[in-house]
Symmetry: C2
Subunit: 278 residues, 2 copies
């Protein structure tokens, strides 16, 4: 197992292990470093895997909002080395899920009110454009499909309010919600727009919905009406409907965010609360 070496990160045993250059180095290959990797999914580099795993942990709430992260610790947990973790954290930071200070550390981003309002405006920009294109380009079948998804989504939210607050179920509803909005961008036939919506800013809102906003008082046809407007209206009408939808969502997030305490200090963890669970 290659991990046996990586596990020995203790400082005292800094002995320099070097192969003798004159040893039986005929045609090299004395590094049995990474033979396993039977995942065999071709687009999954180690960095990509690390990125997805860490992102899921954040979205699921396993890593709470002010949580400090360590590249080395994450590398050990994910059974990879530091560089892939570094790349993953950089990407997550560029997406706004993490924040870091040069020589201090990296932690799950604690958003300020200004952050949330700004990002909502970016989301408004991107999703109103998607709404325009959807109204303009999507064929009738896809429009009808979106309306069906909207009704299904409202049904799921209503189910959430009846009391079954299962954590896993909430996560799945949230994923369905995210899919609903991404579906609009998909049908807009603009991959760059879809990518921007998924990656840059909007992800945070669905994360905040799940993390900060607890109760939702949505009308029973909240998303169905949006879908109707997108499916039947002009591009301008779709833009307007999406704009109102997002501004309403912003108010909800801001209201839920007030409850978030000021427990956001601590870039580095105290000596005792190390090796926390995750």
């Amino acid at each position: 197992m290659p991990k046996s070496r990586a596990a020995a990160t203790s400082r005292g045993v800094r002995k320099i292990i070097r192969r003798d250059p004159a040893a039986g180095d005929r045609n090299g290959r004395s590094h049995p470093v990474a033979p396993p990797q039977s995942t065999s999914a071709e687009p999954s580099s180690l960095a990509t895997r690390a990125y997805l795993e860490i992102r899921n942990k954040i979205l699921k709430g396993d890593l709470p909002i002010g949580m400090a992260l360590s590249r080395r610790q994450l590398a050990m947990e994910l059974s990879v080395s530091v560089p892939p973790v570094t790349e993953a954290l950089q990407q997550l930071e560029s997406e706004g899920l993490l924040e870091s200070r040069p020589r201090v550390g990296t932690r799950v981003r604690v958003p300020s009110r200004q952050d949330v309002e700004d990002r909502s405006l970016v989301r408004e920009a991107l999703e109103t454009q998607a709404a325009r294109l959807f109204a303009e380009r999507a064929p009738a079948a896809e429009k009808e499909d979106l309306r069906r998804r909207g009704r299904e989504l409202d049904r799921l939210y209503a189910q959430c309010e009846t009391g079954s607050v299962d954590r896993e179920f909430l996560f799945s509803v949230n994923s369905f919600h995210l899919d609903f909005h991404l579906r609009i961008a998909d049908c807009a036939r603009c991959p760059a727009l879809r990518h921007a919506i998924e990656k840059e800013q909007v992800l945070i809102f669905y994360w905040l919905y799940d993390t900060a906003v607890e109760r939702r008082n949505l009308s029973s046809d909240y998303h169905a009406r949006l879908a109707d407007a997108l499916a039947r209206g002009t591009p301008e009408a779709a833009d307007s409907a999406m704009r109102h939808h997002i501004r309403h969502g912003l108010q909800e997030v801001l209201a839920g965010l007030k409850h978030l305490g000021k427990s956001a200090g601590a870039w580095r963890l105290k000596k005792h609360e190390r090796t926390s669970d995750l």
Copy 2:
């Protein structure tokens, strides 16, 4: 010089050079790698410097459109090691200026017609939002300042058409153009939106303007009229004016892109490259 080892990447001379740990290594410091660096700007890590330098090379046209890049070569030219260059290239790729394939290489992105259209739609989304916020939030003094900048910009473009096609001058005009648009986002008081406009997609257009579009047949008040609409109109009017402005710019870029020959092969020297249209 530690670079002497990096230069000798030949396979036969795989001699392992190791410092003797017991040698006169009192208090270490045998790495005279990057001592100069008199820039002294504190937020400039090596990766950031590399990012800025490479980006400028691309924007200035020093690295033409299909140009293949090598991490090691860039590291040598910039007098840094490979990891900072890697980080810089990843960021530039995420911004769309570069493209890479897993084990083949990295090169300056050659945009397809579909790419350009998609990105223009993203740009439209972000900048129309900035226009709305500008009309809504910017104080009168800033609005007047923008109108002045618009007139100045038109003057510079007119000067470009008189024949003085100095490369450096074109670059400066382009920078002024970029500043003009970023100024709108600044006055919109939304840092996230400003950041998105600067980083994600829009940069490419100003790059294409300089690289692909040679002649500009702009009316003499092209940007002045845009500034007037933003300064005096309602948010909706500002949105509309910006939308038309950007769509016109897209047509220009597409027209200029047609002249770009199929000289965009060769990751290293390859033949099967799609670039089906444009």
